[in-house]
Amino acid sequence: MSYTLLSVVGVAGALLLDLVLLGTRLVRRRSFWTAYAIVLVFQLLTNGWLTGRDIVTYDDGAILGARLAFAPVEDLLFGFSLVLQTLSWWEWWGGRAALAEP
């Protein structure tokens, strides 16, 4: 599987986790999108560092070829999946803790 396809699967999996499996529905909250926008700015900076300095290099055959701040656009999907999965679990565990309170 190419990185392109895997990154789309990664986003789909994260949406499934958020909307169905854990039911946290973060993608319907402005708190999530505001936080994601902030993280995205820093992702572009750190990703630019990692790819601009060739700390990480990508196989041209595994990506579409479009780049943003040195990094392949697939990294945006990778990053979105990482952030959404993380915040979905964080929210889910927080909800369980609230339920456990007397």
């Binding site: 820093f42 060739d54 700390i55 993380t86 565990w93």
Partner: protein
Amino acid sequence: MRHLAYLAVLALCLLGTLPLEVWLGVRVYRRPRRLLLTLLPVVAVFYLWDVYAIAADHWTFDPAQTVGLVLPGGVPVEELLFFVVVPTCAVLAFEAVRRVKGWR
């Protein structure tokens, strides 16, 4: 110093978000159990993705700009740390937005 190039950016992420915990009081590091339970499945999923991507040559790492400690599956230790640091920073940002804006 060049071998610290990847590690340095992760350290900056942690340092840069530390004020959110210390001064804004978002209470992320002060809920270590919840943070750990959040990180475990995320690290597992993205570590496996990394192992696959490295095996399939989707991406490669510059040995001169990493510390040289390579984990099972050919994963540089910086990658494992990335999957801990970046999610932690995302949680800090999320809690900061909720605290400042009063949104749920």
